[in-house]
Subunit: 239 residues, 6 copies
């Protein structure tokens, strides 16, 4: 059985690391890396909830995603006039994923914005963003005086994400850029630490996939997310 | 076992109809309805492929999606300054879905744009758009002199889409607006007439779902798409 | 005396039809056709008047105009970044025309937005829009519980519009696209059912016209609008 | 018979003046005033025709209209993000009016842009713009070495414009701002020096007008334009 | 020692003139010229201060800068979609310069907007704008009933500006366009009438400058601004 | 003599560090910090020069500047619709500063874009950006096969920048955010390693400054830049 470019087996994650408290003024600031993909996730807290939520005693979590120009080669021009479609899809996905593990009532009337800025892109930037954003969100909530894991705590579960794909007919976990470019099917899965699904997105761009392949992708992703969840807990316990 | 608002069983589609050649100057023009959801799908053909495709002898299919202001009550303001995130996601999905059944080489250096304008919205507008867009695309290709189903024909399969969701703990097929608003999980599935998957998008906004629920949603959608495929064929055979 | 492309005499309207209650969720929804020109007019009612009118006990009527991409061949790109000059002119004209027959005091502090979306374009889209918008506005007002033609009713007259032009030296009524493209002078006239003028716009793009031609155009338009007014009444009486 | 605010009779123009060669680097630069309305009209010539005209040996004339912030009190904010509907309508009207007296073939493959910037606004800015723009266009064409009134000359006629309106039931010529604000009907007429019509725009905002009133407005405007034409000729002869 | 294009010595200003009360409806309206550079400065007063200042009893002065299309040859396209970087820099500079001589408390809760529209550009448009804007601001404040130079007066000093540059190794004062284009170093200096600095901006685009050159530029500018201050006073005394 | 918040003397720089090769795919990638201000400078190289430079055998260097949302507290919203005035000013300054030390001929027909993304802001972000951008530019040029410091090398000097200001009447070097907010005068100076000036920008927002203060600021900045130049050389020698 052939190994992958970087020597990984088909169901092996790239090395993942979390650097909490990385240079930023935001209360949550995590530099997350998955192999050569590096994302800075910062979480900021404010008292302003969106107008349609005001006065309900509930909070909101939203996210923004952005690739820095130097994160790719050739350079990626900035989204300065409009936000492109891919960016919009990704930041909506990150926001939904985080909200799925937040109890809005316990959060109280505050707004958390999690910014995921990709410093270095090598595939899987949206899933690394979600996995890192959870840790940044955790740290930002720790900074709120009235919240604590021992007392009132808005996080009801953890959340992590990973990609899987069919490349050359094989199901592979956690695709890097070269694998992603060659994939017949690309799937992103977001799950909670307790094993529930939040989001499943499987796409056959320029191709289709069978029910059997779909099941193989789901199994691989599920196993990968269990490992990411452990890494998150280790990082948070190290604080 | 309780029936649904409109008396349907859990695995029953809404009535679907295709009105080919509906008022428009585009070569493909189909008014598709699924219950109270009504979408005008028009397909236009031009010789201009996108710049990055020019000179390769291959064609491209793209899609735009839009809700008319009167399609909802209260009125939905027009996207006149910018295209919102939801619209962008949907039109990218429609485009990918159609391209999955198109042989770009056989299409030749031409561009087909399929416009899906929602006249009346009652849930499932994106899936009705895909299902109708396939018929409009078919008609537009029929209008090209060098293409025919008996000769060179770029469509290698048909494509249709449907939603499914978990509402009040039950898996329901083809959600209308009231069901969609109450759904814990919302899934959209795009498949070919031959039973292959093109896209699976399952989302738990403000909630999560188990592996078992995921499998139930996939089974319901698969059965629904088989019926939609038959309706498409009947409509096209009636020409 | 030569007849026109479609066999009409110089002073003959194209066949006009109104389909009230056409697929839409707006309270007023009329599919109007004038020959091969087809426009969907939907009228929506809301309690929000523009800020500069608030608290005066008066209402406002405004309009938006748009051509669907498939309404022309080749396809017309959407106005997604900005609204082009022609569109702006037309929707301002439709709004002014409707307001001329509305008693703002009797309307009460509410806002009616009439959307005119052109499904199929063959000349005269702005005049068909006005003629259809009146019927949609009527239906939307009927849906307001405190208003009725027998009681308080904001419509003080009806309104309809038609084009006329000088083509090959002849004054023709209700130009289709091929005639419009060849016209030396193009005039749009908006009048009330009682025979008063609301708007007269005569333009000699790349040409000029004499006082005599101006009078001929006015006479033709006046006669055409009388017939359109009758058609509107028949449609409304049929409800 | 009551006189007007400024003592004019009903059919009297405001004093009109043209200051040719006013401070600007453009080849045509005319400061035109009609009473307290003051417009700077500059005409610039370039070799770049619009893409759709290139290679046909014909030229194009276009116009832009703008009100400086200090031209009104209170200050009018600049159109820095988008051009509003009124501005678009006016600059299209100015462009059409100028093109009606230009022989595009004789103009040759060049583009003239006439900018009308309102320095002081007191009603009738669009008609003053047209009347002044003609003089600026004349001067810009004089600056082209291959064109001259004695040799090849693209201007086949002159063009001027004036407003008329029904105010308090009376037909008045050349409305100032206070009259314009009170007018039941507002009409703008553009004519050539030889007495042909280019544009007739009569609008009853919030009102209607009879056929008799329409005829009265046309007669007043026609007489006014004859006088403006003489003023233009005197200014051009004075060069 | 060689003289300059227009015969000036190295430390000589261009002729400067102020035409107060020039055609505009704004309370301050000054046509300022410095040689062939001509700018219309209008100052408007309103009661609306920016939201972040409201309720503090203090006022604000802001500025906008714009070049009319005919001010240059070839024509300068309008900033209708976005404001370019140079424009933004200049209008921020003008605003800061004016605010440096305004006592915001004495101004009271009002907003003055000074618009600098360049009619003819021959170098030094930003410095002429500042010099003229001060006079327009003075006149606008005179129009406020509760303010007067003898009573409460918000202006604590006057302000004027001039450019200097190194051209062909020589320090020159008040560069015209041809000198500016050839300059190795370009400096703009804003000072008060009492000899204090407000802004010093020296730039070596594509070049560098020595400390000695820097000192020479500062001395030349200082002398020039003394003369401009006198011209401003003479103009204001002439009222 | 009172020391500063962080114990520095009036003429003392904050600690400065350069981390070359920091996570990014761009050939030049430097994380520069000056005290608590942290900027990621990435330099990308492409063959596309701006259209107005093409075919001249010369290259161009440009810069973009951006503050990440988490770099400040409260969070700074992204520039997603338009680039604000401050950003535009800063990125133009960075570009000019770099070009002043680049020989465009030796650079050859290539374009270098230096992106300065602020991760943590504590005053002096523009000057830290310039100082770090030089190092990133150096590394990006090293990556070009035909360029080397021993052979053809486009950098004719080094460039660094620092701020100085008058705070509470004292001249201070390298202001942090709290000092910057309290400064009466703020000056930014850009100089080459060989002691020539590139840019001097001194601003008295809401205040003025004397000639003596101006000279003190220039002396302080000059001494600071000498130290920064040494730090840059040490970092580059360490490669």
């Amino acid at each position: 059985m052939p190994t992958r470019n970087d020597g990984r087996t088909a169901d092996e994650l790239r090395p993942v690391m979390f650097q909490r408290g990385f240079a930023a003024n935001a209360p949550g600031s995590v530099l997350v890396s998955a192999g050569n993909t590096v994302v800075l996730c910062t979480a900021s807290v404010s008292d302003d909830v969106p107008p349609w939520m005001a006065g309900k005693g509930k909070g909101w979590v939203t996210a923004e995603y952005n690739m820095l120009p130097g994160s790719t080669s050739p350079r990626k021009p900035r989204d300065r006039k409009k936000v492109d479609g891919r960016t919009t899809e990704i930041q909506r996905l990150i926001g939904r994923s985080l909200r799925a593990v937040v109890d809005q009532q316990r959060l109280g009337e505050r707004m958390v914005t999690v910014d995921c800025d990709v410093l270095k892109a090598d595939g899987g930037t949206r899933t690394a963003s979600i996995t890192g954003a959870y840790v940044a969100l955790y740290d930002a909530l720790l900074s709120c005086e009235d919240l604590s894991p021992e007392g009132t705590w808005p996080l009801v579960d953890s959340v992590a994400a990973v990609s899987a794909g069919v490349v050359g007919g094989r199901v592979l976990l956690d695709l890097d850029y070269s694998e992603d470019s060659a994939a017949e099917v690309d799937m992103n899965v977001v799950m909670t630490g307790s094993g529930k699904f939040i989001e499943v997105q499987g796409t056959g761009e320029g191709g289709t996939f069978t029910g059997e392949e779909l099941q193989g992708l789901l199994r691989a992703a599920e196993a990968g997310i269990q490992q990411l969840t452990e890494k998150q807990q280790q990082s948070l316990n190290g604080a």
